[in-house]
Symmetry: C2
């Protein structure tokens, strides 16, 4: 299946996808912030476990790697509807303005999900793990460098 969207249509789709879930799914902006940060925390811990195997800090364990890879894959889908426009308030740690460039922000999300989708199969071997954890980490960092305030 091939899908083509004009830039304008893609932007409209992104904005619609954006506008709807926030009001529907989070009672308060703080709930959305807490949810997305929780999802990132869970992802971060499991990426850390995979990274420790990649670096050789802990022995490669295919079953443990697979379990962490599945968590990262699933959870990488969760944070994105929890970024209501302007939600750089309270406990939020955003730099820049991701809502100024929704298509660019969406692209960073899609890039991450494309990489995490490859993780569960890749981590069956240590070499596969090293490569795909690296690629996934780069997708994490691409967004962090642009939009994550480190405090």
């Amino acid at each position: 299946m091939k899908m083509t969207l004009s830039g304008a249509a893609a932007l409209t789709a992104v904005c619609l996808a954006w506008a709807q879930p926030v009001a529907a799914q989070f009672a308060k902006v703080d709930d959305a912030i807490k949810y997305r940060q929780s999802a990132f925390t869970v992802m971060n811990i499991h990426m850390g476990r995979l990274g420790a195997m990649a670096r050789g800090d802990v022995p490669f364990d295919a079953a443990a790697a697979q379990a962490s890879a599945k968590v990262v894959e699933l959870v990488s889908h969760l944070p994105w509807d929890a970024f209501p426009a302007g939600s750089n308030t309270g406990a939020a740690k955003i730099k820049g303005d991701p809502w100024k460039d929704p298509a660019g922000f969406a692209k960073l999300q899609e890039d991450l999900k494309a990489q995490t989708a490859k993780l569960p199969a890749a981590v069956a071997t240590l070499d596969g793990l090293k490569g795909q954890v690296g690629a996934t980490g780069r997708a994490c960092r691409a967004c962090h460098e642009q939009y994550r305030e480190v405090r």
Copy 2:
């Protein structure tokens, strides 16, 4: 497959399972607390979405219910290795002492996972969702009433 364990062997198994991962998987107790609380936050939001459908506060949506059910199922496996003995410190919100009764605490965890495993299939229909969200919520509450400090 049928597995029987004497009480003593079961307790030993629980204690071994407990002793190992904490040191291996979390650098600091605070990391474990943050991780388990993040997992509970993610579960809570998705249980809330399912609960809203069960109560009729939002229209039943089988695809959205399925997505939330899968998150709850997977994430319900995560918090339990993040309760190192005595980790009722810092941001922890524990009442009582789950480490005094590891077999009882493990039973509460197993009860929850048994219920969340049924969620993805059950939420295909609104009636199924209502029943299984109720049963899962009771498994959540059984542990909360015993061990969760509400502040």
